[in-house]
Symmetry: C2
Subunit: 439 residues, 2 copies
C-alpha cells in the first residue's frame, strides 16, 4: 500500500457532478444505503465467488483527494469551490458490511452494503465496482478450474494476457480459490502468493542446442527443476532431460499438441527411463473444460493463463452498486426503500441481509436475502453472510489472504453436488427474497 497513489480519481466524473448537485439541494447529507449485487450470473455458471474485498479496503483507505487530484479537478472545469472544498476534506466515515472474501454468491446476494451519507457513499461506487467486478469475475472462473483439477495443483500464469495490474489482482483472486501458485512476481511480493516458473522456448532457442539449454538450466536451478520439452521433438527432449538430470529430474512441461496423448506417452517414457518421480505439467490454452478432459491423463499439474485472466468467457462479474434506501430531509429519520423502474433493469429497494440456508447434512439449499439481520428462521440452519468491514470509517474487517482461501474451500464444499458440473446451466441454489425454504 505504501507505494500506491491516491485511489480517488479511479472514479467516474458523474460521481462528482452528482455530489455538486446534492450539496446544492442538501441531499448530500441524507443517510443512504448502497448495495452491490449481481442481477444474474454469467451464462452456464452455477455460482459466483466474491473477491476483491481486501483490495477494496486498501483502496478505501487511499481514497483521499490529494493536491494533485484537486488541482486536476479544478483545472478540468465544471466543479465549484464548495464541491472542491468538500472533496479536500473527504474521508469515508460510514459503515460497510460485505460477504466474506472467497464466499460463493448468487443472483441478488447483497455482497457489499455501504451505509453513510449519500455524498460519502456515492463517491465509492466506481472504485468499488471496478475492484469487485474484476476480482470476482476471475475468482468465479478460477473456482471452477480448481474443482475441475480435482486436487492437482494449478499454476496461474496469465499475466501476459491482461493489463499489468489486473495480472497482480488476478493472481491474488486465483490463489483465493485454491490455485497453488502464480507466475506473477508482484503478486508474490504484495500478497505473499507463492510464485513458480522455470523457462520458456526462448531459453532453448537462444542456446546452440536443446541439450546445452537443459544443461544450463540444470546447472542454474538443480535437478529438481522443470524442463520444457516441446521446442523441437518431445521424445528426444525427454530422453535428453533424464540423461542429464538423472532420476532426480523434477519434472517436464508440455505446452502444445494433444496434451492428454503426449502426457501418457511422456509418462511411459519417464517411467521407462527410471524417472518415475518426475512430474508432468501441462500448459497451453487450458480452461476448466480442458482441465476436466485431462482428468484421466497422467498429469501432475496444470498451468492456466488466458482463460483465467479473462474470466473464461465472463471477463466482468456485472455487479452493480445501487441506492436501495435513504432518509428524508431529517438524516436521523427512518430509511425509506427506493428503486428505479427502468425497463429490464429491476432493482429491489430496501436494505437487505444475506444468509445461506443449509439442510441437516450441511448442504446449501437456498440463498436468503432478507430485510432483517437477526436470526431469520428459528429452527432452520442458516449461516449469516455479512461481515462488518468498516465501522465509522475505520477498517475492521481486514484478514490474511489465507482466511479467504479457507473460506472459499468451505463455501464451495457446502454447495450441492451440481456445483461440480462444468456445464450446469443455472444457479445451483435458488435465491429467496423474504423467506427461508422449507427443508
Amino acid at each position: 500500500m505504501t507505494d500506491e497513489p491516491s485511489s480517488a480519481l479511479l472514479t467516474d466524473r458523474y460521481e462528482l457532478t452528482m455530489l455538486q448537485g446534492a450539496l446544492r439541494s442538501g441531499a448530500a447529507h441524507r443517510r443512504a444505503v448502497f448495495e452491490m449485487f449481481a442481477r444474474r450470473l454469467p451464462e452456464n455458471r452455477g455460482y459466483g465467488v466474491v473477491a476483491g474485498t481486501g483490495r477494496f479496503l486498501d483502496a478505501l483507505e487511499r481514497f483521499r483527494f490529494d493536491t494533485g487530484a484537486l488541482d486536476y479537478l479544478a483545472d478540468s472545469g465544471g466543479l465549484d469551490d464548495a464541491t472542491l472544498s468538500w472533496l479536500a476534506d473527504y474521508r469515508f466515515t460510514g459503515d460497510v458490511w460485505g460477504y466474506g472474501e472467497g464466499e460463493a454468491y448468487f443472483p441478488g446476494s447483497p455482497i457489499l452494503v455501504v451505509e453513510g451519507t449519500f455524498a460519502e457513499s456515492v463517491l465509492l461506487e466506481t472504485v468499488a465496482l471496478s475492484i469487485y467486478n474484476h476480482d470476482s469475475a476471475i475468482a468465479s472462473a478460477a473456482s471452477r478450474m480448481t474443482l475441475a483439477a480435482g486436487g492437482r495443483p494449478i499454476i496461474e500464469m496469465g499475466s501476459r494476457r491482461t493489463h499489468e495490474m489486473s495480472a497482480v489482482a488476478a493472481a491474488r483472486a486465483a490463489y483465493i480459490t485454491g490455485f497453488a501458485s502464480t507466475s506473477n512476481l508482484e503478486a508474490g511480493r504484495r500478497y505473499g502468493v507463492p510464485t513458480a516458473g522455470t523457462s520458456a522456448h526462448a531459453f532453448v532457442l537462444v542456446h546452440d542446442s536443446e541439450r546445452a539449454a537443459f544443461e544450463a538450466q540444470l546447472a542454474a536451478l538443480g535437478a529438481g527443476t522443470t524442463l520444457l520439452v516441446d521446442t523441437y521433438d518431445v521424445d528426444e527432449a525427454v530422453r535428453t532431460a533424464v540423461e542429464l538430470a538423472g532420476p532426480e529430474l523434477g519434472g517436464v512441461r508440455i505446452d502444445s499438441g494433444d496434451l492428454g496423448d503426449i502426457a501418457a506417452r511422456v509418462r511411459r517414457q519417464l517411467d521407462g527411463l527410471g524417472a518415475s518421480a518426475a512430474r508432468i505439467v501441462v500448459t497451453g490454452d487450458l480452461d476448466e473444460h480442458a482441465i476436466q478432459a485431462l482428468a484421466i491423463a497422467p498429469v501432475d499439474g496444470y498451468g492456466v493463463g488466458t482463460a483465467l485472466v479473462t474470466g473464461s468467457g465472463a471477463p466482468t462479474a456485472s455487479l452493480v452498486y445501487k441506492l436501495v434506501a435513504r432518509s428524508g430531509e431529517d438524516a436521523g429519520g427512518p430509511l425509506l426503500p427506493v428503486a428505479k423502474r427502468s425497463v429490464g433493469k429491476p432493482s429491489r429497494g430496501g436494505r437487505k441481509w444475506g444468509f445461506r440456508q443449509l439442510d441437516a447434512a450441511g448442504t446449501a439449499v437456498a440463498e436468503l436475502v432478507l430485510e432483517r439481520g437477526d436470526d431469520p428462521a428459528p429452527g432452520e440452519r442458516v449461516r449469516p453472510l455479512l461481515r462488518h468491514l468498516v465501522a465509522g470509517g475505520e477498517v475492521v474487517g481486514r484478514e490474511p489472504l489465507d482466511e479467504a482461501r479457507e473460506r472459499h474451500a468451505r463455501s464451495v464444499a457446502e454447495l450441492p453436488e451440481t456445483a461440480r458440473r462444468m456445464t450446469r446451466g443455472e444457479p445451483v441454489i435458488p435465491t429467496r427474497f423474504g423467506q427461508p425454504v422449507q427443508v
Copy 2:
C-alpha cells in the same frame, strides 16, 4: 509517471530463472531479437489496432529492480547472488522499434521488435505483453465502435466493469481510436483525455422527487447539462426537464428499454416542447452492433461501457513475444534466425520489417512482412510501419496522444471498405511474407 512504482516485478518468475540459466551458460550476453505479433486476429475481426506503445515506454523507463524488489526476490528463494546482482544493475540498453500507436495491424505484423542482449530483452516479455495485449484488445474493439457510430461522439464509461487500472488504460486506448471522452477521471489527469458525465439513477432516487433532482442538477450544472430521464417514466421526465431547463436544455440520457424507439419518441417530444437543440445520449449495454443498429435513430451520442472494456468478446489481443534471431557465442557475429517447432504454434524465424502496400488510390492492399528494412518494392507504393522507439536504451519515440489518434484515423481511412463491415469474417488485407502484391 512520478507516482508510479517500479514496473520490474510485473514480470513472470520464469524470466528471472531463465536469466539465471543464461548467465550460467553465457547465453545471457548473446545478441537477440524478440518480436511481438499476433498469430491471428480475434474471430470476425478485419483488423487489429496497436495500442499501449506510450505506456510501454513509460514502463520500460520504470523497469528497475529497486531495494524492495531485490529484497523480495532474495527472500523468495531460487535466485543466486550473481543473478540478483545483475538485476540490481539492470537497465535496458538495447533498441526497440514498433508500429506507431493507433496503427492497424494484421496476423504476423511485427508490431514490436526488441533488440539487445538475450538477458536484457527477455526480461521485458511479460510487461510488454501485458500492456500491448490489454490496450490493443480495447483499441481493436473501440475502433469498430467508432466506425459504427459514423461520426457521432462516443463516451467511454466502462471503468466500473474492469480492474481499476485497466479502466484508465482502456479510456486512453478508446480515445486513440476516436472516442470523444471518458468517464474516468484518472485518464483525464494522467493522459489528458476529456472527461464527461452528469448523473446516475441514485441521484434521482436520493431526492424526494425526480423534479427535485432535476432542479438540483440544473442549479449545480446549468441548463446545458444532460438529465437522466428513465428512472421512472420517460415521457414525464422529458416534460419536467424542458419545463425546468427551458429550450436551453443540453440533453437527456436514456439508459434502458428499446433505445431506438424511445429516442425517436423523445426526439419528437423535445422538438414539440421547443427543445430542438437538446441532445439525446443513449447508454446501456451498447456494443458495435447495437451502435450500428441505432444509426437510423435520432441519437446524438453514445455511452459505451462493458463491451468496450472487455474488448467486445476479445478481452486479450493474444499477442506473443518470441525470440526470432540471435547471435552465436560471438555476440558481434551474425544474427541467426530461430523458431520452435511446437505443434499448432508455428513461429517464423528471422528479424522482420513491416510495410503497408497501397494501390494507386491509396487503399491498403497488403501487409508486407519482409526480411529487409530498405525499400521493399521499387515502383510500388509502400509505407514503412516500424518507428524507432528506443535507441541505445533511451526512449526516442514518445509522442503526444493526439498523434496516435490522428495516426489511427489515417490508418483506418486507408483500409478497404470491408473494414467498415461489422460482420466481416477475416482480415481485410492479406499478410504477405517476403513479397509485395502485384497491384
